[in-house]
Structure formats: structure tokens, C-alpha cells
Symmetry: none
Subunit: 236 residues, 3 copies
């Protein structure tokens, strides 16, 4: 395949990634590459003892979301959109789940000195945030690309050929692509398509069902496990 | 070796540095140099009298992290990433340790008028923050270079030759390098490599084990000792 | 000596300066000049009526430091570094002194329309803040120049010749210079050096000892005297 394997391509391929880590797919003039997304909890806005409703409401509005990784304006907004959608989805599947209200989250896109931009990491950012919330690792042989809207619709992206080449080079076995990119994939040479299982998605809920819904019962437990980060706090 | 020794190279070489001070390695077109990192506690978010749980929870989220030293955007983000990772590591080794939630920290990179940028000080910034938290000096004959990700992975950096030359010039005896930079070091002339003990690291936990883990029992004591900064406060 | 005396040069030379006012030394392409530093208390974070512990703890973290004077980025950061160091020094000499936690401070560098930049006023800014805290005037025949680091080390600065010329022109009798600038001063013509007493400093504690330490017993009194600014407050 002639192409060098960049460090970022193999960043997590030799270990089970921690929850919050998801592989996206990027491309530019010189080709495609993996783009790893790392989300971690940086703090809690939780009151120590939940007696005052007032506190609760005050704290609820103080959770913060931060991004780093030399992002361009479009990608910064994409992360904001993904964060809002992840929170909305969280509320729709578990109306009492206040994980996003109670935690400060930081998402980083290594490597820190490489400029990144564009909206196509949207689905992967949502997945990174949900992986963090569920405290479940996403198999590092899965990758995804797709812009997301504020209601969860998945929009098509560019560079399908370059992205699939990068995915194969890095040992990816399963890829989520936007439904409108179906023809782009099907037009690829057989040799390139082989060995990659593709799922086309029109709305993020399809990704959610594939990766998280069978584990929904784990939500309560996972959420509780986060409480270990929050000294002296209890999750109500 | 013909090169002048800049002030910043020998900033801390004649004294035991205070906790929070760590030597990094930088380079640019004109060669390598030491980059000293100074972190200090600037205040506490702790309530003066611990009767109100409410205060506590409100304060926990208000700790602030500030950086100075004419940093470029990538280095500012690198410090944010390092701060988040240091906090995560702190919680993983001592789940009840709320040092980072309770303290405001200021990290400065002298000299103040010299522009600095890039992600390669990540490991050294994390070490500076942990040195401050543990209240333990880092031997000034130790230096390190390496980008860090939000989960603690160590990424390779440029300028290994220039950085090692600077390290030798300044009396550094022990250097932490990213594992992927192993070949860069091994290709250096024997005369340059001699006298420097190198440890290759793939994840920050290796640096942590080398510098801090045998001292873990000191953590509680160190944390208490910080309480001297916080007039009228008690550490629970 | 043929050079015009600028307004800023003689700003405070005809009266005992108020506490918080200190003379620094600046230079640019057209020569050296005095740079006066004025720090004043702008408010208190102290609760008006000391009944609520809650207020107190909330306020402690809200003290603010502001600078004006058309400062460049490096000088703004230099003021932040100086402020952090002054606070640290305050805590190390009087562990119960919460002056910096309880007061909002504003430092101005007249004249307001003249751009200023660089790190070399660091020592003078620290001195201005300590003068304010101790409520003691600094003799206006004293001037100083020197970059400061976050731990109080004093770094060399440029323009020693121009700065000493400005100092003499303005009647300065005593100058603090960074130790590494010793040669710069000694190389000056005898006629320029005459009449100026120089103290070389490697760390800010030397300036502290010269200007404040014999007055340390005054600290409690000085601190109490500030309480007049804080309507209805009590100093614990």
C-alpha cells in the first residue's frame, strides 16, 4: 500500500482503548488517516449531599465542555453540536440521567500540533461522549465518519476512498458511513472494499442501537461507577 | 562544546528546585535548550470553616488553571491537556484526593519574553503538576520530552539530537524519551549518547512509577502540608 | 544631560510616593526612562457582616487583579507572574495573612497612552504589591529592574546603560539589578556609575530583605490599617 503508517493511525491499535476513546476517519490532500477522539471527565458539579434543590439547579448549569487539538472553527462547532446532541440523546433514553449536567468533560484530538477541521467527526464525537457516559470501551477495530445535525441526522462527508484506505491500512474491520455516501463506497474497487463491514446510517440512533442499546441495562451501573471520580459525592 | 550556555539553561542547576519545577527540553532552528517549568499554588477553593456542604460542592468546580510564558496556541492546549491528565491520574491513584479541585494553580515557563510553542512539553508539565501535588522536588539532573494525550499516552517529538546536546551541555544525567523516538536516540554518535541514562516511555504511568510511585505513601502527608498555604482552612 | 525629562520620569520625584508606588526602569530605541508602577486597592472580597461563613469562602476565591497602561502581552503576563509570586511570598512570611485573597488590586503604569511591554518590570511590580500590602512607601530615590520567575528567581534584562542614564537623570540614588547583569553595569564609564549604589540580586528575597524584612513587625499593624478600606469588616 506504499503509504506510511502515521503515529496517530496506530495510536490505540495495540490496546483496549479506555472508555471515551473512538476512532474517526479524516482526509486531506495527502490522503486519509485515523483521527482518534479522547473524552475524559475532568470534574463534577455534584453537590456533596443532595439536600438542597437550589444547589442542584445552580450546579446543573455549570457543567463545562472543553476541546483541544488545534481545531478549526468548524470542528469546534461540530464538537459543540455533538455535545448537545449526546446530551439530548442521553435524556431521551434515560430521562433522569443527569450525567452531562453533573460532569465537566474535555475532548482532545491528538496529535496536538496537527491542525484539524471540518464537520465529519460529528458521529465519532457523539460516540466518544456516550462511550464515556456508559463507561464502555468501543472496540478499536471500529471506525466511523459522518457529520451530525443537532437532531441526530447524519450528513454525507468527503474523501470516502481515502478514508477507507486509511481504515484498511490500520486494521479497521467495521465502518459506519452516512447513508448518502453509499454509492461512494460501492464504486470502490473490490480489493479495497474487501474485509470491511460497512453499516450505512441516516440517523445517529442507528449507531446508538448497534453499539449501546443492548447494553442499556448497564447504564445505571456504569453511571454509578463514575461516582468514584467524585470524592464525597453521591449519585442520586 | 562551542555553544553558549543561555541563562534559561542553567536556571535551576545550582540548587534543589522547589516542588513544581521540572526541566523540559526544547529546540528550534538555532538548536536545543532547556525549558524550565514552574508550577505554584495560587489559592484555595476550600471553605474556611467546613460546616456547609453546599460551599464545598460549589467551590470544587471553581479551581482554576493559568499559564504564562508567551505560549503559542498549541502549547496552551498542551498545558490544558496535561492538567486534565494530571487530575485524572491523581484520582486514579488516590480516589479521595481532591488537590486539583481545591487549588488554583499557575504554571509559568521562563523566560517571559521568549515565545514558546508545540506539544512536546506535555510529559514535563504533568510531572510539574504532580511534583507540586506531592510536594516533592524533581532532581534537576532529570529532564524529559514527549507529547501527552488525554489518556496519558506519550507521543514522539522532534529535535532529539538538539535536545540531547542541550541536556548534556547543562549537566542532565537522566532523560525520559518517548518510546517511538528510540531510533532517533540510538542513531546519535556514541560521544553524544555517553553519560546520559535514557528511559523510553510509551505511557505516562512509566514516568509516574519512576519518579513518584515509591513515594506514594508520602501523598497524604504532602497534601496536608499544602494546607499551610490556606489560611484558616482545614483539609478534610 | 541634554536629554529631555519626560513627564513619566519626574512623576513622583517631588513627593513621598503613596504605598504601592515603585520606580522601575525601561528602555527602547530612543533611550531609557523611568516607569512608575502604581498599585491600589479597589475593593474587598470580605463579607460586609461577618456572620456567614459561606460568603467568606465564596469571596476568598474571587479576589481579582487588574492591570492597565497599554501593556503588551508579555508585560500583562509579567504582572500576573509578579502577582502570583507576591502572594506566595506573603504566605511564606506570614502564613495567616490573607491580604491578597481579600482584596482586589489594580496596577497601573502611567502614562496610559504609551505602549509598554517586556518582562523586566517584574521585580518592581512585586515590590509595588508588597509596598501596598505593608502600607509602606518605597523611597522614590530607589529604582529596580529585573524579570521575575514564578518562584522568585531574578533574570537579567536588557538596556542597562540606558536605564542607568535615566536613573541618574531622575535623581535615583540606589538601584537593584539582576546578578547576571553585573558585568553590564561594571563596563559602564565611571562617570555614569558614580553616585549610584547598586545591589545585585539573584532572587527576589534579597530585595525583600533590603526593603521590607526589618519592618516585618509592622506587618500586622499595616494589615490592620487596610481594614479601614473594608467597611464593616473584621480582620480575623
Amino acid at each position: 500500500l506504499g503509504k506510511p503508517i502515521f503515529l496517530k493511525d496506530r495510536l490505540y491499535d495495540i490496546m483496549d482503548p479506555p472508555p471515551g476513546v473512538v476512532a474517526g476517519l479524516a482526509y486531506n490532500q495527502i490522503g486519509g488517516s485515523m483521527i482518534w477522539i479522547e473524552s475524559v471527565i475532568t470534574g463534577s458539579t455534584e453537590p456533596s449531599h443532595g439536600n438542597a434543590d437550589k444547589e442542584k439547579s445552580q450546579n446543573l448549569q455549570m457543567s463545562r465542555y472543553r476541546t483541544t487539538g488545534k481545531l478549526g472553527d468548524v470542528m469546534k462547532e461540530s464538537a459543540e453540536i455533538s455535545y448537545t446532541y449526546a446530551k439530548t440523546l442521553c435524556h431521551s433514553v434515560q430521562k433522569n440521567n443527569t450525567f452531562f449536567e453533573r460532569t465537566n468533560i474535555h475532548t482532545h484530538f491528538p496529535e496536538g500540533a496537527i491542525p484539524k477541521d471540518g464537520p465529519s467527526a460529528g458521529c465519532a464525537i457523539v460516540t466518544s461522549l456516550l462511550s464515556l457516559m456508559f463507561d464502555r470501551s468501543i472496540d478499536s477495530s471500529i471506525a466511523m465518519t459522518g457529520e451530525i445535525t443537532l437532531t441526530g441526522k447524519v450528513l454525507p462527508v468527503g474523501g470516502i476512498k481515502e478514508k477507507i484506505m486509511a481504515a484498511k491500512r490500520c486494521g479497521i474491520k467495521r465502518v459506519f458511513l452516512p447513508e448518502p455516501n453509499k454509492r461512494d463506497f460501492e464504486e470502490l474497487p473490490e480489493g479495497l472494499k474487501g474485509g470491511i463491514a460497512v453499516e450505512y446510517v441516516d440517523h445517529y440512533t442507528s449507531i446508538y442501537k448497534s453499539l449501546f442499546s443492548e447494553r442499556q441495562s448497564a447504564l445505571g451501573a456504569a453511571f454509578m461507577s463514575h461516582s468514584r471520580y467524585f470524592t464525597g459525592t453521591r449519585v442520586s
